[in-house]
Every structure is written in structure tokens, then in C-alpha cells.
Symmetry: D3
Subunit: 112 residues, 6 copies
């Protein structure tokens, strides 16, 4: 675990970059899928990143929480929007989403 979630985010980028180089035949279409799934459309990119962030809490994936929280913030998500996405995850995930949501809140402090 990194000292702060900012460092954590940087370590994810480094690791996923290495994976991209190791299996480009799989990671290239995956990147295209991500680009299509998160593009501005009927739903804004910001909304889609908040959605991916909320899923990340519900499935208890800390790397995913950090990755999609940062992306949502980069698309202009506000603190209130982030907290409401945490709340939906709690509705859908109970106690485990409470503890992962509390990690998400800590990440929100570190990344802003």
C-alpha cells in the first residue's frame, strides 16, 4: 500500500502500463472498449466515471475505487456527487460498502 492515495494512483498507472506492454493484443481492444463505454453520450463522462466508481465500491476493488474516483474528479465531479455515488454503493452493498466507502472518502481527501 502506498503512503497516500495519490501515490497509490501513480502506482496503478505504472502497473497497468506494464500490463499494457505485456499483453497489448488484449489491452488494446480493452482500451477501445473503455473509451467507448466512458465517452460523453446520453450520459456524461463524469456520470459514467461516478458509475464505475460506485461499482468499484460495491465490488470491493480498492485499485478500481482510486482509478475511477480520480477520473471522475478530472471530469469535474464535485465532493457531493462523489458522496452520493458512495451512498448508492452502500444501498447496494451494505456494510462492506460502508468500509470501502470510507476508504473512498480518504482517497477523496488525498486526491483533492
Amino acid at each position: 500500500m502506498s503512503a497516500t492515495y495519490k501515490d497509490h494512483a501513480a502506482s496503478i498507472d505504472k502497473r497497468v502500463g506494464a500490463l499494457f506492454k505485456a499483453v497489448p493484443s488484449v489491452m488494446t481492444p480493452y482500451s477501445q472498449l473503455v473509451k467507448a463505454a466512458s465517452a460523453d453520450g446520453a450520459l456524461a463522462s463524469k456520470t459514467k466515471e461516478l458509475m464505475a466508481f460506485s461499482i468499484s465500491i460495491a465490488i470491493r476493488c480498492e485499485d478500481c475505487i482510486v482509478f475511477h474516483l480520480r477520473a471522475a474528479l478530472n471530469h469535474g465531479a464535485s465532493r457531493d456527487e462523489v458522496l452520493e455515488a458512495v451512498s448508492v454503493a452502500i444501498e447496494m452493498g451494505g456494510g462492506p460498502s460502508v468500509v470501502y466507502g470510507s476508504r473512498a472518502l480518504q482517497a477523496l481527501e488525498d486526491l483533492t
Copy 2:
């Protein structure tokens, strides 16, 4: 399994209603939690229901898919918005989200 997802939705209501009567001490605060988590706020109720729907696909919960899809539609979600929420789930869940997303699409046809 019900004949159509419309019947399926009705059977969920009946079952969850019975659970509410059986354990009101737990279901009453859960309902309050749901009300708070899905209220219009920084994010619209429609967006929150699409978020819960997207989580439902990612975690492979068919009852949840039907329940939150219906709620999103009731809040005015469009077909394109629903399909984009499915797309985010596929980004976050791979093949299993493809097959559960295909069930969601069938539910979308049945419920509209």
C-alpha cells in the same frame, strides 16, 4: 422465472413486501436508507437508479437489475441512457456483464 420481466418485477414486489412484514425492524431503516441514497440531490434520482442498475449487472443480481431498471425508467431514463449504463457495467465486469447485460436488454424490451 416469470414469463416476462414485467411479471418478474411484480413477483419481486410481492416477495419484498412479504419480507418487509416479516422483519420490519430491519426493513424500515433499510427503506429510509434507500430513500436517502436515491433522493434527488447533487445527482438526480434517475442517475442514481441507473447507477444502482449498473451495479446490479456488474454483481450479477437479476432481481436487482429488474428492480432498478424499472425505477430508472419511472424516473424518465431513456433507452440510450440504459444502454450506456450497461456499457459501463461491461467495462467493469467483462463477459459476465455481457450476459447479464443481455438479460437487462430483454428486461428493457419487456418493461417499455
Copy 3:
């Protein structure tokens, strides 16, 4: 899906029996593990089956719900004990545990 959860329980027995015959080298030690894990000890067998039942709801495994609910009832679990195990699952699983808990309640009606 069977017509009632009583039929469903019978179909699980049949299917798992066939699996036992197909892979006895794996299923024999698994049965010994189950026997050890669910034996009366510091916790009663009834409590352990309720625990396995509660896990089954939290992980959304319908076959498991039916299987361990029946076992808990066979060990003398009361309706209130079953409902409280459902409640713990809701605490730990949120909305998905509500809908699977509602299936568990229907199974409770069918099996008693």
C-alpha cells in the same frame, strides 16, 4: 426453476449426487470438510447451518440458500432464527440481500 422450493431442494440433491459420482476424488474430501465444519462443537450445528444460510444470501447463491435453509430447519431452527439470519445478511449485503432474502422467505414457506 422448480415449481416449489421443495422440488428445488430435491433437484439439488439429485444434481449434487451425480457430481459426487462423477468426481469422487474431490467430493469425498469435500464431504469430510463439510462434516467437520458443520459438526456440533463450540457452536451448535443449527447455528452453523444458519451461518452458511446467511452467507448464501450475502453471496446470492439460490441453490445454497435452499440447501442450508433446509439443513438449518432439520436441526430445529425456528422461523425467528431464520429471519434473524436473513437480517444479518441484509446488514452485510444491502439491496441484493433484500431480494435474495425475499427468496429465502419464500423457501421458508415452501419447506415448512
Copy 4:
């Protein structure tokens, strides 16, 4: 649920085909990802489909079980290979993999 797993497999094809038409921007790169991930390489396609099948049991995704079992059989997987992939899933998933493994065995009977 379809009458047999053969019908079930056909219904998956139909549903996933509809999803492909509904969200081609996401499903096209996903198909390329699948093609790359399941191509003959250091591991044979048959092995990779058995791997995807084993994951499907471990994560309790019935549609996925049917889909990847059929693909493994099409690549020449034997009954013993299928049963050993079920066994690895039981090692990694305990009781829930036993009941989903028993569904996989039933699918094996229906598809061969």
C-alpha cells in the same frame, strides 16, 4: 430458464446478439478482446475455454458456464477435462462451486 441447456445456449446467443446490435461501439472491441484472449497461443484455445468455464463456476454465472462449456466442447474438450475444471472451481469456491458445478454437469449431459 430453458427446458434444456441446449435451448439455454441458443437463448444466450440470441440475447447477446441483440446486445451486440444495441451497443456495437462497446461490443466490437469486446469481441476483439475475446478473440485475442481465447486464441491458440502458449495455451491452447481449448485450455482457455476450460479456464473461462472454471471461472464461470467460481463466480456463479450460469449463462457463462453454458457459454464457455459449449466453446470448450467445440474445441474438443473431453468429459474428464471438463470434470477436472469443475474440480479446480470447487477447490477455489467451496459449496457454491459444488452446486454450480452440479449445474455444469447437467449442462455437460445436455450439450453432448
Copy 5:
């Protein structure tokens, strides 16, 4: 990760406390739900916390393991009762529950 599970437990309290302040509208009813679900009833609070602990292992949520193990110990759970709850999780979760159960055992040493 904290140096010991005692520190880990303290960090969870701090994080969840912050989340409570950030989203009281959701966390207040969630606390009421927890209170109702874990109250002495047909099943004792100790049993319910062991149940939540067993679920935590089965779903691989380390924060949850620490949180509910501490609560079970505070309600007087014995070492043998804790180990039997780990055993039920292994029955229901296979290998992943073995490794998370081994973390739970380490937490048991640190917290007692």
C-alpha cells in the same frame, strides 16, 4: 495496512466515523439497521457478530473481518467459536476463505 490488526481496527473506526459525518442521511438509517440486525433476539448478538464475521471471510472483506471479529469478541465469543465460524466460511468459500481465514486468525491473535 496498519502494523497490527489492533491499529487496523482503530483506523476503520476513524474512517467510518468520517463517513458518518460526510453522509449522515444514509449512515443514520444504516446504523439503525445494524442495531436491529445485531440485537439480542432469537439469536444472541454474539452469534450474529460471528455470522457477520463468517460472511466477511467468505466475501473477502478484510476491514469487515476485523470489525466483526472485534464485535464478536466484545460479546464474549471464545477462540473456539471464532475458529468454527472460520471453518463454516471455508466450507462456503474454499481456498480464498482459507487465506482470508488465515488473516482472521492473525487478527484474533492481535485483538486478544
Copy 6:
């Protein structure tokens, strides 16, 4: 978290060894199950360990990733075989498998 995945693997051995001593009645049959499930048969032990490794990524269990990656390498798995098992996990798990796959790649560097 240990400094390297080599240390991490050693810490898993120590922890699981302690669990074995604490609950031998459950861990002894579990070991027999593992021995049967991972024995050379229609599928080679190497293939089975790669399968368990791929499941580990798909279910986001870091201890399991390290444990089964080491076992696969001990059975002679090549770097390409490991990367193809990661690729199948990405097909079956989307983004979360990408980030856990990137941890697996880091473990591959540390363990070889």
C-alpha cells in the same frame, strides 16, 4: 503488505500453516481436496494451477494470486502462459481483472 511478493508468499505460508494447526479437522480434508483437484490427470497440474491463478484474478483475491502463481511457476509455467491466463481473467472480469492482473504481473517479476 510485504515488501515484495516473495515475502508475501512466505507470509501466506506462515499464516496458512497456523490455520492448519488451529483447525486441522477442516484443513486436513481441504488439503486432500486440493491434492485431488490439482493432481496431474486429463489436465496437467501446471494447467490446473494456471486455472486457479486465473480464477484468483477474476475474484480479486491477492493472496490467492500469489499462492497459485508460485505453484504454477513451480510446475514449469512460462511467462507467456501466465500472461495468457491473465488475459482470460480480463475477458471474464473487465477492469478489476486489469488492475489485479497488473498486480499479478508484478508478482511474476518478483517470483522469477
